[in-house]
């Protein structure tokens, strides 16, 4: 048996998406910029996908800019805004638990002298206080970036309240919703957010394609210059098959969302309760209730994340850990440290993320396999719990 518990890292392609993409790859080769028939056939597919994505977000089609993924969407949001609004200010406010695509970009902008960055902390569950964001604003602030759902610990943020504050001050509000689009409703006609990052491979779509929602009227510069596709906001020949895949995947995800997220949340709760009941000293990370329906994340003091991942892989489970432990140095996850966990505890992190294919039997198999692995690693380390 093999069970995949790393849907936050990436998801399998929905078979319907795979079929749609394979058809495009085989049959549609025109360049969407060409006005002859072959080109317009491709253009029509891109337009259809744009409508699908817009509809899922409550946006208008011309507010959707396709990108090469979540990382590019985040970079475009931050770099594009800071550049477009440079005359007004250079203040960028973000949080300590953002994905590297936001946090490293903020640091890089600061390093280049293009932004003054303020990083707001979170509480022990990973929640950002809207008031803390408000306190961090000043007259030069042009952008606030707060993710919707955290990729490691699953904590959800109060976007509506943060957005309302930003709007009041004329500040652009970006949210990295890479982990939530597909799993939770996010309707930009109700939530006052100006830029939203989307990433197909997190909702059973292809890797290498994403989108940035850009509310009409939001000033944003482009990252890349060239042929002028996407109305100059993101130039380069369109990844037609990938964009089609994104559109179909989001359409399917929106249709399945309510039922599937409820189902996953039940399994997640079973997993969390099971782990807590069976593994002494297990620490649930993230918010107890305000969390992604598919996220169960823990720290097991006395273990090291990479060893947990390898041991579980050998036992038939694909999982991940916040501590990457590559290139000879384990940086414990900045997210876990931001929660106030000690470095050694943070090193024993394990992230279990469920998906459409996850079954109760898989949960129970994992609950059987995990406790002896934790016990073995603890026996080897003998680090007191």
């Amino acid at each position: 048996m093999r069970a995949y518990f790393d849907h936050a890292a990436t998801t399998p392609l929905d078979p319907e998406v795979a079929d749609a993409m394979s058809r495009v790859l085989r049959d549609v080769y025109g360049n969407p910029s060409s006005i002859y028939s072959e080109g317009q056939t491709a253009r029509a597919l891109v337009d259809q996908a744009r409508e699908d994505v817009a509809r899922a977000l409550g946006a208008a089609p011309n507010e959707i800019v396709f990108t090469s993924g979540g990382t590019e969407a985040d970079n475009l949001a931050l770099r594009g805004t800071l550049r477009a609004r440079a005359a007004e200010g250079d203040g960028l406010v973000t949080t300590a638990i953002e994905h590297h695509a936001v946090l490293d970009t903020a640091h890089d902008l600061a390093h280049e002298g293009r932004a003054r960055v303020t990083v707001v902390g979170v509480d022990k569950h990973g929640r950002v206080e809207p008031e803390a964001i408000e306190r961090a604003l000043d007259r030069r602030t042009v952008l606030v970036s707060v993710m919707h759902g955290n990729n490691e610990i699953g904590t959800l943020q109060p976007l509506a309240r943060i957005g309302a504050i930003d709007r009041e001050h004329g500040i652009t509000f970006h949210s990295d919703a890479v982990q939530t689009v597909g799993a939770l409703p996010l309707d930009v006609s109700r939530v006052p957010v100006d830029l939203v990052s989307v990433n197909a491979h997190k909702f059973y779509g292809p890797k290498g394609v994403g989108a940035l929602y850009v509310r009409t009227g939001t000033r944003i510069a482009t990252l890349q210059t060239g042929g002028g596709q996407e109305k100059g906001r993101r130039t380069g020949t369109e990844n037609v098959a990938g964009i089609v895949g994104l559109g179909v995947a989001l359409r399917i995800a929106a249709a399945k969302r309510a039922e599937e997220s409820a189902r996953q949340a039940r399994l997640r709760d079973r997993l969390i309760e099971g782990v807590r009941g069976r593994i002494p000293g297990a620490v649930l990370t993230g918010h107890p209730s305000e969390r992604l329906p598919n996220n169960a994340s823990f720290c097991f003091p006395g273990t090291q994340g990479e060893a947990l991942v390898v041991a579980l892989d050998l036992a038939g489970f694909a999982v991940s850990s916040g501590s990457a432990c590559t290139s000879g140095s384990t940086e414990p996850s900045h997210v876990l440290l931001a929660l106030g966990l000690g470095r050694e505890v943070a090193q024993g992190s394990l992230r279990l993320t469920l998906g459409r294919g996850t079954t109760e039997a898989e949960i129970d198999a994992l609950l059987a396999a995990l406790p002896p692995i934790v016990a073995r690693l603890r026996a080897v380390s003998a680090v007191p719990v």
């Binding site: 090291q304 990479e306 041991a311 050998l314 000879g328 140095s329 470095r343 380390s381 680090v383």
Partner: protein, 123 residues
């Protein structure tokens, strides 16, 4: 799991000589400050040979496998022979480690030498 060799996986899953000897002849530790991993080795020497040895490791797969491997290589060897063990010997015995994990073999050998040194000083 293609990242690790079969031998490394075997040592990781069934580590040899886990534990801490009580009243050892030598005890030594090494750590990798960049990742927080650490290994402690305790050993006993009799008739100039490593006659008993045990390790504890807090760390990744490679750290655990390397420590287990180095105890296996050292056990039964003359003290000089154990002292002469190099990280390359550990890597060879394990069938290699991923390039970014080779420092783990260094840590295992470091802990062994620290324990051997401690035994020499004490005895």
């Amino acid at each position: 799991m293609r990242v690790y060799s079969d031998a490394a996986k075997e040592h990781f899953t069934n580590p040899r000589n886990v534990g801490t000897l009580s009243e050892p002849d030598g005890k030594g530790s090494d750590a990798n400050p960049s990742c927080g991993d650490r290994t402690t080795i305790t050993l006993r020497v009799s008739s100039g040979r490593v006659s008993e040895i045990a390790f504890r490791t807090f760390g990744c797969t490679a750290a655990i496998a390397s420590a287990s491997q180095v105890t296996e290589l050292a056990l039964g060897r003359p003290v000089d022979g154990a002292w002469a063990l190099e990280p390359a010997d550990v890597l060879n015995a394990l069938g290699g480690l991923p390039p970014d994990k080779e420092a783990c073999a260094l840590m295992a050998v470091g802990a062994l030498r620290a324990a051997l040194l401690d035994a020499r000083v004490r005895t």
